[in-house]
Symmetry: C2
Subunit: 389 residues, 2 copies
Amino acid sequence: MTDPVNTGADLSRLRELNSLTIVRALREQPPATVTELAKVTGLSRPAVDVIAQELVTGGWATIVEPGASSTVGRPARRYRFRATAGYVLGVDVGGHKVLALLADLDGNVVHTARTAVAAEADPKKRLAALDRVLAACLRETGKSTSDVWALTVGVTGPVDATGKTSLFTPLPGWTDVDLAKHLSDRFTCPVIVENDCKLGALAERWRGAARDADDIVFLQGGMRNGAGLIIDGVLRRGYGGAAGEIGALKAVRWLEAPSHLQRCPGVPETVGPDEAAAWVFNAARDGNRDARTAVRRYVKDLAIGTAALVLTLDPQIVVYGGGFSRSADLVIDPLRQELEKLVLRVPEVRASTLGADGVGLGALRLALNEIDRLLFTAGLSAPVAPVRT
Amino acid sequence: MTDPVNTGADLSRLRELNSLTIVRALREQPPATVTELAKVTGLSRPAVDVIAQELVTGGWATIVEPGASSTVGRPARRYRFRATAGYVLGVDVGGHKVLALLADLDGNVVHTARTAVAAEADPKKRLAALDRVLAACLRETGKSTSDVWALTVGVTGPVDATGKTSLFTPLPGWTDVDLAKHLSDRFTCPVIVENDCKLGALAERWRGAARDADDIVFLQGGMRNGAGLIIDGVLRRGYGGAAGEIGALKAVRWLEAPSHLQRCPGVPETVGPDEAAAWVFNAARDGNRDARTAVRRYVKDLAIGTAALVLTLDPQIVVYGGGFSRSADLVIDPLRQELEKLVLRVPEVRASTLGADGVGLGALRLALNEIDRLLFTAGLSAPVAPVRT
């Protein structure tokens, strides 16, 4: 032991950390030269040079050879994270549909599959639809389950530590479904089940209306209002996975809010209960007086539950998403005006930009987070799908 | 450059990190031997030996020589963090009092000073009381302002980024007070102003009823209810410092709750408004029927706002603190029963164990956090009071 401060074990760990630092830097930016990587990571150029070549050999990175260039001298080669080393699946199991997105490790969506499911479908039928959609995603992209590094499924209702919605779910018979086990029988990679509103919140921060914020209340507007919370940049689940369930408190009127739309006078009999809200929003846009009253009452009640979230958390931004967000043009301004009457500090109120893909995109993001976690804590020694432990 | 991975700069940084690791390890445990420190930190024994001696020379640590021992062989010397290298001040500026605690860098309270202030006192009088209490703390311990490494003051109302309670405060004329500036004219160390309920939450996790939890809703029970939130182990302030202000929402009835106590029939005329609640709690404990009804109504309304916090955050623990927590025996069980009717997952409900010192202790903790932050990010090169930047 020649240097008492710096043992062999310390050096080996340092080298591993430096490799991970470069992988992370590559993931977060366009193809970069050794000089650029040295600047971003604070490591020396010679160190980065050695590590980058090791990462190419190991399958973590590819070389982008310089093309024709107008600059004088030989342009430097660039390194790119090999995003196609693996794939992630993000799935939205909703009341009326199952939607699956397949994306590479940079989060680029390479395939989307979707199938309709009846609202009253029993768990067996809904799980069969899920299996069909996942199989279609793999088949149509020529991938197999071993290409999938992580898989996240969003469901309605608070999700506990075992991946079950045991406290509450509106999906028929779903309380007893062990979704994590069902998927673990089909995939060897990490499988995560998460609440749909929480995934919606993640998606808005990743690729939606809240990319610039760390403190976000995401509202899932629909026949059941829900919420997902990002605080100091991190999705918060609560101790038992039930954060954001303010809708259960009668006093804040979220249970009541959507019924103003459903009970609006003048909705034609031919319009089913699932489409009534859309009809009312359209009629309100056309100036129908009853419809405008119904929307006003909806927003007034929506604002009370939203105010409870805002007063509790003091977020920078409230994002209005979910199925009703197609009609955000009728909701955003009145919602802000109601909040001005109810809260101490009024946050920005924005409309979701992701529409029906929000939950699936959030599921992708959570799957990618899991890969990052494995990469930067447990360590992934080679670029192959991690096996669930 | 003989080793491309491990430059001189990397090594110097590694040595500094190792020193800080030892300082942190020393702060978090009783006096420790080199062998024990090596085990805790994962560093080699020779490395720890060198660093520990450097820390003694530098004034960060002291040596505890082994006393008479029954074990065979020479017992090893131990190292202790030199907690008296500096001090922190934690102050509670309340409606009726100013309380200041002086503690060493381990958080051991070495002196307490307190003075009564009239509820209707104007800012000038309240600031004069603050100055007197701080001066007393230093004078009676033989310390000067240069011994103070950080200072935190708790006040009522949401505190913004400038340390002002500009949105709301019940203290007369206090909205315009620049407390941070007032203190910065007297102290050169970092000065932090924070909301009293947030400090109460910190204190319960540090030395109170919630030491075992990372997800905590702290209720400040009093003539104004307040809340402080710890989520995933960290105090959350909100984007503008106004997190926890659920009491402002009429629908959740916190504004109403304490008035049931104040309006209770039978409170003698000789009992002033500030003491009415204490009288009612005592009468209820003695079986007075009106008083029991008033307490029941108080808890029922308290529970609705608490349910809004619990449904939003899904905490592990709710701690009932503040002035009314002296009567927690009458509140905890009924509050839990009300929550069982209102929320999806019922958290544990516990009484504060800190009483009137909670806010001051939380202020100490926040001051110590600031020192840790400087120590482990900016780096404190020598054990002397940091100068505010």
